[in-house]
Symmetry: C2
Subunit: 161 residues, 2 copies
């Protein structure tokens, strides 16, 4: 449920890759794509989108490529995903303007809007630098301040699969 598209996945991976690049030098879409075995031309388009969104900086020409526009700690997962996937809403009936196909007859829109806000907020607090820490530190923490209110549910959720 609630799936990210591959493009968003690839985008996050590429940004993480750039963030981990020690020298901050530009890396070509092709090189990054090869590192993760993803289609180079597709990743190129994704990085172009992220360039327009101001998340990365592009550098054309020989030895060109992409680099982060800001420190990894200042780039949120939310802006990356929204840049790539566009502004969507969890309830499929609702559009950007808050409209609803079903108009008055849709009764779940409001409750879902709150859920949507919460998820957006979670993504807003997740940074590219967090992705790096995760893989380095083994099992880390996305945000310690959340843990008391949110991660409590880890136990109550054991009933799935």
């Amino acid at each position: 449920m609630l799936r990210l598209t591959k493009k968003a996945d690839y985008g996050l991976m590429a940004l993480k890759h750039l963030a981990e690049n020690p020298h901050g030098t530009a890396q070509s879409a092709k090189d990054i794509a090869e590192a993760y075995h993803i289609p180079a031309s597709l990743l190129a388009k994704i990085l172009q989108t992220l360039t327009r969104a101001g998340v990365v900086i592009s550098h054309a020409g020989l030895h060109g490529g992409y680099s982060l526009a800001r420190p990894a700690s200042e780039i949120t997962a939310f802006e990356v995903i929204r840049s790539i996937e566009g502004p969507l809403f969890i309830a499929s009936c609702t559009t950007v303007h808050g409209d609803c196909d079903l108009l008055g007859s849709c009764t779940v829109k409001e409750p879902l809007r709150k859920l949507n806000d919460t998820i957006r907020d979670l993504l807003n607090e997740m940074r590219i630098s967090d992705l790096c820490e995760e893989s380095k530190a083994g099992t880390a923490h996305i945000r310690s301040s959340h843990q008391n209110s949110l991660v409590t549910l880890g136990s109550s959720a054991g009933s799935h699969a």
Copy 2:
């Protein structure tokens, strides 16, 4: 981003409808579908799925239909969505078994898994009865304990297109 399918939407709406049914008598898929202007045959299939999942009880024959298998307060949004959409994971590369298309090369799987867990937990705490309260009480609260830490971002998210 992170969109629910229409089927899940319809399913939640139908369950909310059943939960609000004062007498607890069975309601036919056709009647519910007409109330919300959604395709009757599609809703019928969704309700059949929910029947198999043990969320609703079906009653064939004249004056038959569907009713909740349990009190609305004991049915979570999570089980409804998972029943309808199947067990998915937020990272598109990951399957039910925790596999990843990209295998070792996917670096964002782990951090996203935590996000996935958190979202699942949120859905687990959201009950059908909550959907009903929302629309009655006007603007209610899914979980008051969330508001201080999360809903702050409503403002910070206004910066996009």
